[in-house]
């Protein structure tokens, strides 16, 4: 019979393990866990971070020794990097003269259409004698310069060389003759935040560079940045953390378990329940959402602190009467376990009511995990324990503690209530929350400084700050974008803005293009043609060849035409169309925020966006929602306790230690200057969940024996603290936040549970051991 249940356990575990490997779709993209936009700009940012162009690219800085052919090297490197699996596109940031020629040649078809943002003002000015004289002089100088070879064919299509009026705005300093360093962008098909998959690409880029550089006698150096580089570094750090935390937690858990129970068999039972619960939770969450996020396992995995309570508590109670059937011992405490489980699930369900996408997964994961742990404890554990219980004393020193609490309980209770009230009044209001998500990221200062140095060398653009135009149609968005262009040009003239990169003149609204054409048409009469001929004659230019401009059939430049051309790569990250909205971005160089905001203030559909600001705003919203929902969850837990005990004061007394423990931990961390954020709140929820369970166990004391109940609670508290303390050894600040919230919180909760809920009247029996 015993063997049958062991077989059941083995079969169940094998089936769950098989389910994990076959059914669970893992995702490691951090942004999918943290972000979901509610406004167009946050939606844009969230979608771009999750899918996108902002995160999928590596930025390579190639530097060469003096006299090295860096353009040739970059060309060959681009070709070998393109062959890496997962790389979709590789291109040089500094367009070569060949590329510039190609852009100019294609855009010369649109010289007139894109001529000016204010055609009604600029076209009449263009057709004055002085202006035409200047233009013919400019054409002459170009024909006599180095550019003559490739500019000459342009004149056939664009006799006024109108493209020269705005071609510099196409990319400005991105076109370099022969640079000492060069930027290369590598775009991948994988989300940049998927550290595991990006690690392969990151290593392949390095290997390919080294192989090629060896052929060039090591003349070049490579520096790399981009979201995937950070993701790979985080991946390595997380892998190292997991290894470290796993080893430490395993050693600590085994030591604690052997110290308390002196039983390897007991450790196997509890491990089986924990692993089965996590496996079941993983399968259910993945089936429900279509994927399981790695962070859900990481944070949800800490639920072992809760799940472990049920089997340990049950084991200690079963050991109290080893001669009886363990099933009856567990049946006796089952209502307490169930209530504890339900209150914990309520806490997590409350958090799932926030808009934080990660919390939704966490709620399902926690509910299924806790449910599985409870069911296995209730229906399988007794059968596994049957016949293996031996009596052995393990008081864990609870008797002197209970005697102390019994003697001074009233005094301690008042003291703690006063202390709690003082914390509520003086410390709680002054708690400072930080919503800077970067503080939850691993310490990567060297990568960050490398990133800013590379970006400073390669681009004049300030990362993460831009102007966003949002409109119901793309045409309207283009028109608004043109207004932004004019506004930015004005402050650039006043030197309040270094540079900016707009979608114009890569693309202009149809309305503007038509207006330019109609203005030019109005001036193409004999009088103005004679003025032009006169200007050409002054410079010795051929009137015969240039005097009667014949533009090719004029066509409006549309988004489709641009997207079909190779030039789309220069601007494709500057616009997005989704859900009936068109969004256009203008990248900004060094600027004064207030001046830029002021400049676009009268353009209703334009907004100044700070990426970091949006993320922090999202984090603030999540945190506020979490606090609200946390309070709501506490109210529901209180209601459940009230329904169970049918007594307001008992319900309050059971909830009090958990709330006070959380309060003490938060206040202490705040007092120590720790920046408190989302992860501390999740830790706080764990503290409350665990401590409410303890308080229920103490209050109900279903064994009718306080020392046994306390031994059970202390045993599970020791394993919980050991598990969370091991998280404190991780270098990841998020894991540290959980560790230093939960571990002390559980200890304080246990102590406060004794003070507030302990009832000294219950009897005392001998402890037992399992073997």
């Amino acid at each position: 019979m015993k063997n049958t249940y062991t077989f059941y356990a083995f079969a169940l575990f094998s089936a769950l393990l098989f389910g994990v490997f076959t059914l669970v779709e893992f995702k490691t993209d951090v942004s999918a866990f943290f972000f979901r936009g509610d406004t167009p700009e946050t939606a844009l940012l969230a979608s771009k971070m999750q899918s996108g162009e902002l995160s999928k690219r590596y930025l390579l800085l190639l530097e060469g020794k003096e006299d090295s052919d860096i353009l040739g090297f970059a060309e060959e490197l681009e070709s070998v990097l393109s062959a890496i699996l997962g790389v979709t596109r590789v291109w040089s940031l500094q367009a070569s003269s060949d590329e510039l020629e190609a852009v100019a040649m294609d855009y010369s078809n649109y010289g007139m259409q894109l001529f000016s943002l204010q055609p009604e003002k600029d076209v009449p000015l263009f057709f004055t004698q002085a202006s035409l004289d200047n233009r013919s002089l400019r054409i002459k100088n170009i024909l006599l310069s180095q550019q003559q070879t490739w500019m000459q064919p342009l004149l056939m299509k664009d006799p006024f060389l109108l493209i020269s009026d705005w071609s510099s705005k196409l990319g400005g300093n991105n076109f370099v003759e022969d640079p000492k360093f060069i930027g290369v962008a590598v775009e991948t098909s994988i989300s940049g935040l998927d550290g595991k998959k990006q690690k392969f690409i990151y290593e392949s880029i390095n290997q390919n560079f080294m192989a090629l550089n060896a052929e060039f006698d090591g003349a070049f150096s490579l520096r790399m940045t981009g979201v995937p580089v950070f993701a790979s570094a985080v991946q390595q750090q997380v892998a190292s953390d997991v290894k470290k935390v796993s080893i430490i937690s395993m050693v600590l858990m085994v030591l604690v378990f052997l110290f308390i129970f002196r039983s390897v068999r007991g450790l196997v039972w509890v491990s089986f329940i924990l692993l089965s619960s996590v496996a079941m939770a993983s399968i259910a969450t993945s089936l429900f959402f279509g994927y399981l996020h790695a962070l859900t396992i990481a944070i949800g995995g800490t639920l072992i602190g809760v799940c472990i309570d049920y089997p340990i508590h049950s084991m200690v109670h079963a050991m109290a009467k080893p001669k009886l059937d363990p099933a009856s011992a567990i049946e006796k405490i089952w209502p307490s376990l169930l209530l504890g489980g339900v209150t914990t699930v309520v806490g997590y369900l409350a958090l799932s009511m926030t808009s934080h996408p990660g919390m939704h997964q966490l709620a399902v994961f926690a509910s299924v995990g806790i449910g599985t742990s409870l069911l296995l404890t209730r229906f399988l554990l007794p059968h596994l324990m049957r016949g293996h219980l031996k009596q052995k004393d393990f008081s864990l020193g609870v008797r002197p503690w209970l005697a102390f609490v019994g003697k001074y309980q009233r005094f301690l209770k008042r003291g703690m209530l006063t202390f709690g009230a003082a914390l509520m009044l003086f410390v709680l209001p002054s708690i400072e929350w930080t919503d800077d998500l970067s503080k939850l990221s691993p310490e990567l200062s060297s990568l960050r400084s490398e990133d800013s140095e590379i970006r400073r060398k390669l681009s004049s653009i300030e990362p993460g700050r831009f102007i966003l135009v949002e409109a119901d149609s793309f045409e309207h968005a283009l028109q608004q974008n043109e207004q932004v262009y004019l506004a930015l040009s004005r402050i650039q003239d006043k030197q309040d803005l270094d540079s900016f990169h707009s979608l114009y003149p890569w693309l202009a609204s149809e309305a503007l293009q038509k207006e330019n054409l109609s203005m030019f048409a109005a001036f193409q009469d004999e009088a103005h043609q004679n003025m032009w001929k006169k200007a050409l004659e002054k410079q010795g230019l051929s009137v015969e060849k240039l005097g009667e401009p014949h533009y090719p059939p004029l066509q409006i430049l549309t988004k489709d035409i641009l997207e079909k051309s190779s030039h789309i790569s220069y601007v494709q990250s500057q616009y997005v169309e989704s859900q009936g909205k068109s969004l256009i971005m203008t990248w900004l160089g060094k600027h004064q925020t207030d001046v830029v905001k002021q400049a676009i203030s009268n353009i209703s559909s334009a907004k100044y966006i700070s990426q970091k600001g949006i993320l922090n705003h999202l984090a603030t919203e999540y945190r506020k929602q979490t606090i609200t929902m946390f309070a709501f969850g506490l109210s529901v837990i209180f209601l459940l306790l009230f329904v169970r005990f049918r007594n307001f004061w008992i319900a309050a007394r059971v909830l009090m230690p958990a709330v006070l423990a959380g309060l003490v931990v938060l206040s202490t961390l705040s007092w120590l200057g720790v920046a408190l954020g989302m992860l501390h709140l999740i830790g706080l929820l764990l503290v409350v969940s665990i401590c409410v369970d303890y308080a229920i166990f103490i209050h109900e004391n279903r064994a009718g024996n306080n020392p046994i109940t306390y031994q059970a609670i202390l045993a599970s508290a020791m394993t919980t603290v050991a598990a969370f303390l091991s998280l404190g050894f991780a270098s990841n600040p998020a894991l540290q936040a959980l560790a230093w919230t939960v571990a002390p919180g559980v200890v304080i909760g246990f102590v406060l549970g004794s003070i507030f809920v302990f009832q000294p009247k219950a009897g005392i029996e001998e402890g037992v051991d399992v073997g």
Binding site: L71, G72, S97, Q152, E177, D178, L541, K545
Partner: protein, 212 residues
């Protein structure tokens, strides 16, 4: 079996071909060697540019400095423009636009291999690269040697129609004519200057100016 007559025919043809080839190669080598031996050189030049969009040819003039290592072109009129190159790099300074730029020799080799091998051939005396890039025809006319270079590669054919170099018998080139595919044409006429006492210093100064 190959008949004796056919064998003699083949031998004649092959022999003729080889002797022609050898003779041709020797003359090119000789020509290039002559130029190399003449180095260092200081030349004044006049350039006449026939540009499609100008009614009249545009005249420029300046100086050329050439050593086995360096090549400098200094345009004095209509505006000052300086191009200085060694075997690794070329620096350009345009005084009119105040623009300065540089490019690696291998970059030029990649971008304009025809022009690169032409200058290298005259500096190094090696005809191999020249023969790879151009169909070469050599003629003599009115006591002058003429060298016709027509591009072989698609890249060069896109830009150039031909180069024609001309010089008195036994002397270095005095005229170079370049015809471009866009209809433009330029003719350079050189005059060897004997005032080369301070050539090394001058080259050094011009390099410094070009590099900035």
């Amino acid at each position: 079996m190959l008949s004796l007559r056919l064998f003699k025919c083949l031998a004649f043809v092959l022999g003729f071909s080889f002797s022609s080839l050898n003779g041709f190669a020797a003359s090119i080598d000789e020509l290039l060697l002559r130029h190399q031996e003449a180095l260092p050189l200081k030349l004044s030049y006049t350039e006449t540019r026939y540009i499609t969009f100008f009614d009249q040819p545009v005249l420029t003039n300046g100086m050329v400095y050439m050593t086995t290592q360096d090549f400098i072109l200094l345009q004095n009129k209509p505006s000052r423009l300086l191009a200085a190159s060694n075997h690794k790099r070329i620096w350009i300074y345009d005084e009119l636009s105040q623009r300065r730029g540089s490019r690696s020799a291998s970059g030029i080799k990649r971008h304009d291999p025809a022009l690169y091998v032409l200058t290298q051939a005259f500096k190094s005396g090696n005809a191999k690269g020249l023969q790879q890039q151009f169909h070469i025809v050599q003629k003599q006319q009115e006591g002058k040697w003429l060298l016709f270079l027509e591009p072989k590669t698609a890249q060069a054919k896109k830009k150039y129609v031909r180069f024609v170099l001309k010089g008195p018998q036994g002397e270095v080139a005095s005229d170079i004519q370049i015809e471009f595919t866009n209809g433009n044409k330029t003719t350079w006429v050189f005059n060897k200057l004997t005032d080369d006492k301070h050539l090394a210093d001058e080259i050094k100064r011009l390099f410094k100016e070009a590099r900035g």
